[in-house]
């Protein structure tokens, strides 16, 4: 590797290219060589309209997809060479996903949902429960640990999902339009929760959104258009 990893770097991606239908007539290049650096403890947003390639980028950052070309180091680990099972383990321990549609497991209590990543990590039952309770308390959902997703409101579901994302103490939280399905006041509370996690716990957050307004709340805003970053700004909230 040409460049030396700086100790405070969480994501270091160089020349990420993603092509679909490689080799066929309708080969399509979605990402055209993206460089991305995220420092430990940083709250970064990636803004882009639909079709800008932000979902594809998110999938690559989240290790759900592999770049066609390029290098990607997550928390100092070269993840491009990892196999399927290894990627599962890295996702499990280093990445916490927060989805627009919450993606809680149906018919399963909030507590069990939060425990799930620990189950895959092989944590013992009692420890799982303790840790899950701790995080549900952090997201102020302690009162509803036994409720199933269909008994929770959107905001509550997202809180549970955030607790679930944090449970294995991941290197980064990858939030994909976390407020997209919520009304503005609930969305506000979720944003406040992210700020709290970032400020109080120093959690690294990559926030993906199509809304420039929400993005301005973060420390650094990267704008993606047609598969390339076209702009990088500091956020208003942290500018001063």
């Amino acid at each position: 590797m040409a460049e030396i990893m700086t100790p405070d770097s969480m994501i270091k991606a160089r020349g990420i290219i993603k092509r679909f239908n490689v080799g066929s007539e309708n080969e399509l290049e979605i990402l055209h060589g993206i460089d991305l650096d995220v420092k430990k403890g940083e709250f970064v947003s990636i803004v882009g309209t639909s079709g800008s390639g932000k979902s594809t980028l998110m999938n690559i950052i989240g290790l759900l997809d592999k770049p066609t070309e390029g290098e990607y180091l997550l928390d100092g680990v070269d993840v491009c060479s990892a196999g399927d099972t290894e990627l599962s383990h890295i996702r499990n321990r280093k990445i916490g996903f927060v989805f627009q549609t919450y993606n809680l497991i149906a018919r399963t209590s909030a507590l069990k949902n939060v425990e799930l990543p620990m189950l895959y990590a092989g944590v013992k039952a009692r420890e799982r429960k303790e840790r899950a309770m701790e995080l549900l308390e952090l997201v102020e959902m302690k009162e509803r640990i036994n409720h199933t997703p269909d008994e929770l409101s959107g905001g509550q579901k997202q809180r549970v999902a955030i607790a679930r994302a944090l449970v294995n103490s991941p290197s980064i939280i990858l939030a994909d339009e976390p407020t997209g399905a919520l009304d503005s006041s609930t969305g506000r509370k979720i944003m406040d929760l992210f700020h709290k996690l970032h400020e109080e716990q120093g959690i690294t957050i990559v926030f993906i959104t199509h809304s420039p307004e929400l993005a301005t709340e973060t420390e650094r805003i990267l704008t993606l258009k047609d598969g390339a970053f076209i702009d990088e700004r500091m956020g208003i909230r942290y500018a001063s």
Partner: protein, 425 residues
């Protein structure tokens, strides 16, 4: 992990009770039919074996029958002559037999049937068949003594007029406890002659001992055996101490098939070589039962295999529903993968679900099959039961079915691309 998967599967299955039940139904019917057939097969086995059982499985039957040489014509009736004294098995021959085969033979059971009589006393009556037996023969009946005892050597040798009757007889005629019947007399008229015997023993009547011949009759009318000393019977019948039929009781561990051949060879060489018309023939009851049993078992297994076809249909049903369930839960699978589930985790989760369905279905099938099987065999007059081994095998087989039919859908789920799965609507 496995326990969590089982819990997870149960929660999922409970959430869709109707669908789960319908899926299980195929398995339930399949397992139930196999178990029912096994139960009925067992009852059939018992009904056939029941009549053979009381003949004693440790016995080798020896018969005196007409010689059938190389040129014997089976199609025509080639009756030579009636049996004479020299054709019968005599006391000396029996002693010789027990002496010669003393390492392998326990004793020789001898019987003389005196007659079937209806004992009456006012309105009371009992049907009995009186049989003269020597002590090995009495022992062979394997009845359970309720009161009193069997015959002593003296009673046998001195042809005393003593009798061992069933508790059914006591109940019909005396209406007392078995012990109170001891010392009472049985008065019987056989061929216009009056006989009186003193009861010295009472045994417990059992249906299996009666060989099923008593089944169907009212309890009161059932004919039970009553035993008198062999010598007493011989004198009454004005016969000699000679037999055309006897039972050799083999010692435990003796190979009965071989022993039967040895006995008939020994007898034929020594006593019937010069005989113009008769010879002895011995065969092992155990061997006969064995071959009969294996035939019946083969039949049962063949039917059970047909029943297993419906299990196959049930298995395909499980596979079908698993595919539906996985399609419905595509997003869930995507989420789990994003949260760090490996392909192996996902595969295990769905195989576990299929196995749990098949396991519960298998258990229910066993219960339903038992109920139907027992009902059907009750109608046949015999209580059959599926073997414990068979039941365990069925449940395990059903679970193996779960793995087999769950594997394809589970593998499909495991191989889902997480991005596409997460995007699935």
């Amino acid at each position: 992990m496995l326990l969590e998967n089982v819990k997870l599967a149960l929660t999922g299955l409970l959430a869709n009770k109707m669908r789960t039940f319908l899926t299980m139904l195929g398995i339930i019917i399949g397992i139930a039919s196999v178990i029912a057939i096994m139960t009925v097969g067992d009852a059939m086995n018992k009904s056939v074996m029941g009549s053979m059982g009381d003949m004693g499985v440790n016995n080798i039957s020896l018969y005196i029958m007409q010689k059938m040489g190389e040129d014997y014509d089976y199609t025509s009736d080639t009756f030579v002559r009636d049996m004479k004294d020299k054709d019968y098995v005599s006391e000396e021959m029996i002693n010789d037999l027990t002496d010669h085969f003393k390492d392998k033979v326990e004793g020789v059971a001898l019987k003389k049937s005196v007659g079937e009589v209806k004992i009456e006393d006012g309105k009371k009556y009992a049907n009995i068949s009186i049989e003269g037996v020597n002590n090995p023969a009495l022992k062979q009946t394997k009845v359970k003594t309720l009161a009193g005892r069997g015959f002593s050597e003296n009673e046998q040798n001195e042809s005393r007029k003593v009798i061992v009757v069933s508790d059914r007889y006591v109940d019909n005629m005396l209406g007392t406890e078995p012990a109170a019947a001891l010392g009472q007399t049985v008065e019987a008229v056989i061929d216009n002659k009056y006989y009186s015997y003193t009861i010295i023993g009472v045994y417990e009547y059992s249906e299996s001992q009666a060989g099923g011949m008593g089944a169907g009759k009212s309890q009161k009318d059932i004919r039970t055996s009553a035993y008198i000393p062999l010598q007493t019977a011989i004198i009454q019948l004005r016969e000699k101490y000679q037999f055309d039929e006897l039972e050799v009781v083999a010692k435990n561990g003796a190979d009965q098939g071989v022993l039967a051949t040895e006995i008939s060879e020994y007898f034929n060489n020594k006593y019937y070589k010069e005989n113009d018309a008769y010879e002895s023939y011995a065969y092992s009851m155990k061997e006969e039962i064995k071959s009969m049993e294996s035939m019946l078992n083969t039949q049962t297994y063949a039917f059970a295999a047909i029943g297993a076809i419906s299990l196959l249909v049930g298995g395909i049903g499980v596979m079908n529903i698993m595919i539906v369930s996985i399609t419905e839960r595509t997003r869930e699978i995507g989420t789990r993968k994003a949260l760090g589930a490996t392909n192996g985790c996902i595969r295990l989760q769905f195989i576990t679900e299929a196995v749990v369905v098949c396991f519960i279905g298998g258990i229910l099938g066993v219960i339903v099959g038992q109920i139907f099987g027992i009902m059907a065999s009750k109608m046949m007059g015999y209580s059959g039961s599926a073997s414990v081994g068979g039941i365990i095998f069925c449940v395990l087989f059903s679970m193996a079915f779960g793995v087999f039919f769950g594997y394809y859908p589970a593998n499909k789920a495991a191989k889902l691309n997480p991005i596409e799965a997460l995007r699935y609507e």
